[in-house]
């Protein structure tokens, strides 16, 4: 893995690393990717129509509005203001 790929992954993952951390994570990720690469030896392609492990959605709830959690309880894990979630300014 090179630094350009790591930068791209950090953007996707919303993570930052210092220069020293980058060196360490590049080395670790390269070893991990080497391990993942062994799967390429396996000669088979995925068949979307032949998934033995299909998830059965046979007991879905009816799509009806129902009472949910109280807003106050949902907001107990943050610092709401006027019943809203506070975030930094998104648009100038």
């Amino acid at each position: 893995m090179d630094i350009k790929t790591l930068d791209h992954l950090c953007e996707l993952s919303k993570l930052n690393f210092t220069e020293d951390e980058q060196k360490k994570i590049l080395s670790e990720m390269s070893d991990i990717i080497d391990l993942m690469d062994t799967i390429k030896e396996f000669e088979i392609s995925y068949d979307d129509t032949k998934d033995y492990n299909e998830i059965a959605y046979d007991d879905l709830r009816r799509d009806e509005a129902a009472s949910s959690f109280e807003t106050e309880r949902l907001q107990q894990n943050t610092q709401p203001r006027d019943n809203c979630y506070v975030v930094p300014k998104m648009m100038e």
């Binding site: 996707l12 919303k14 994570i25 990720m29 032949k50 959605y57």
Partner: protein, 482 residues
């Protein structure tokens, strides 16, 4: 009372016959926690006040002669299972102060039985790891030797059961996280079939692989807990409505005529000789009891670790993208939205979680998706096909649970590849969505427990419990001396 040996059935009798009260029993366990948990570090949160109140309510039910299987029984719960009003951290700084506003479905079901929750147990951060050393709060130790890891990710639950700090516990298993710590700590752990137990309220890691299950002192106790927590749930579309009257119904039927398959790939050089020998000796015991041993092959095992890490990390990267510090979780600082999210995630997540997120996003990226993620899905299909073929001829499959016994703390630090490959014996069960149970089959020269795993057909946990119980009945466990 020796809490390292007492089973749920024995506690049920003691409570029902009024030889001990629910509150007194809970206090006994809190005494044990107070005396011993500073050595084991199995609990992140101890809920004494809530537990004693629950015990009082349970006692009323017991006195009325209306006790259910788990009424008044003191259990521990892994800290990635949401508990209304009780902090649920996932052993992560990200959720250090998170208090769920609801109960997971399994907790709701246990509360209907009036169980007593002693507390929340430590684990690898977000269940990512096999040592419980990635916990941000309590790096749990093995009760058999506190220089060794307890396994993971449900290491706190397994260690608490092993050390007698709870009667049994709930864990979760995405790639072996119930079975491997149970093996390391000398207890019994059951990973149910995918869909048997609702995942609602289990903090998501790999959604197509995660499953909640019990860790206890024997297979019967695992069945007792599974009887309570199983079932379809409208909150979890992947839970299945497969009837099961009693998972312990086949206990005592023995294993005469049972066909036990032994896949040769699980007994290769990667597995320590002591472990191989102990599991093969257990196979011979089964043969003596009348079971028929069959050779079989799971040829895809060679690729199982990369397939598992690609699928689970891809799902983890997606699931953990919700942690932005806005609605809940650690809130970072920053003048812009992007800065704030990055700061929250940098400070909230530990190293292993960051590695998995990077790997998951790598596997899902344009240009890599087909080579990694779809290939892993293709392998998943092959693993399922191979297991289906084996189960045409066999009732259960016998394997080691882990390639080694519990290793020294620090031995696998800074070597993620070594840590990942140690999951080789357990991950195919999750990939195929099958049930698996670990029970102790021996001890190595240093007295550390060796676990074996029985793998069953989908939704056939009852046969696994039957087979594991048959072995346990003739095996003399050596409990830890802590």
């Amino acid at each position: 009372m020796d809490f390292k040996n007492v089973t749920l059935s024995e506690l049920r009798s003691l409570l029902d016959e009024k030889k001990i009260g629910a509150e007194e029993l809970a206090k006994e366990f809190f005494g044990e926690i107070e005396a011993k948990d500073d050595k084991v570090l199995s609990y992140i949160t101890v809920t004494e006040e809530e537990a004693l109140a629950a015990a009082k309510t349970a006692q009323v039910r017991i006195d009325a002669g209306e006790a259910a299987a788990l009424t008044g029984i003191p259990l521990a719960v892994k800290d990635n299972i949401c508990t209304d009003g009780v902090r649920t951290t996932c052993a992560s700084r990200m959720l250090e102060d998170f208090v769920p506003p609801y109960d997971a479905t399994v907790i709701e079901k246990l509360k209907r039985d009036n169980f007593v929750m002693l507390g929340k147990t430590s684990m690898d951060e977000f269940a990512m790891g096999g040592s419980t050393q990635t916990s941000a709060f309590k790096k749990t130790k093995n009760p058999y030797n506190t220089d060794c890891v307890p396994g993971g990710s449900s290491g706190g639950s397994a260690a608490a059961v092993s050390a007698g700090l709870c009667a049994a516990a709930l864990g979760s298993d995405t790639g072996g996280s119930i079975r491997q710590p149970s093996s390391f700590c000398g207890v019994t752990g059951l990973k149910p079939t995918y869909g048997r137990v609702s995942r609602y309220g289990l903090v998501a890691f790999g959604s197509s692989l995660d499953q909640i299950g019990p860790i206890a002192r024997n297979a019967r106790d695992c069945g007792t807990i599974l009887n309570t927590i199983c079932g379809v749930d409208p909150h979890d579309a992947t839970s299945r409505n497969v009837p099961a009257d009693d998972f312990n119904a086949k206990i005592g039927a023995g294993v005469k005529g049972m066909k036990i398959a032994i896949p040769k790939e699980f007994f290769g050089d990667a597995v320590d000789e002591e472990v191989r020998n102990a599991v093969m000796n257990a196979a011979k015991e089964y043969e003596k009891m009348g079971a028929q041993l069959i050779d079989c092959s799971i040829s895809t095992l060679k690729y199982a670790v990369p397939a598992y890490y690609l699928i689970s990390s891809a799902e983890a990267a997606s699931n953990l993208s919700r942690y932005d510090g806005i609605k809940y979780g650690l809130r970072g600082e920053g003048r812009t939205f992007d800065e704030m999210i990055r700061d929250s995630r940098n400070r909230g997540f530990g190293d292993e979680v960051k590695r998995r997120i990077l790997l998951g996003n790598y596997a899902l990226s344009s240009g890599y998706y087909d080579a990694y993620y779809r290939k892993a899905l293709a392998l998943k299909q092959e693993v399922i096909k191979e297991y289906n073929e084996v189960f045409e001829k066999a009732d259960v499959i016998l394997t080691p649970t882990a390639p080694s016994v519990a290793y020294k703390i620090g031995a696998q630090d800074n070597d993620p590849v070594k840590m990942y490959t140690a999951d080789i014996c357990t991950v195919t069960v999750n990939i195929a969505g099958l049930p698996g149970i670990n029970t102790t089959c021996g001890y190595n020269a240093d007295g550390m427990p060796i676990g074996m795993s029985m793998i069953g057909k989908r939704f056939d946990e009852a046969t696994l419990i039957q087979a594991a119980d048959a072995f346990e009945q003739q095996f003399s466990p050596v409990r830890c001396t802590l």
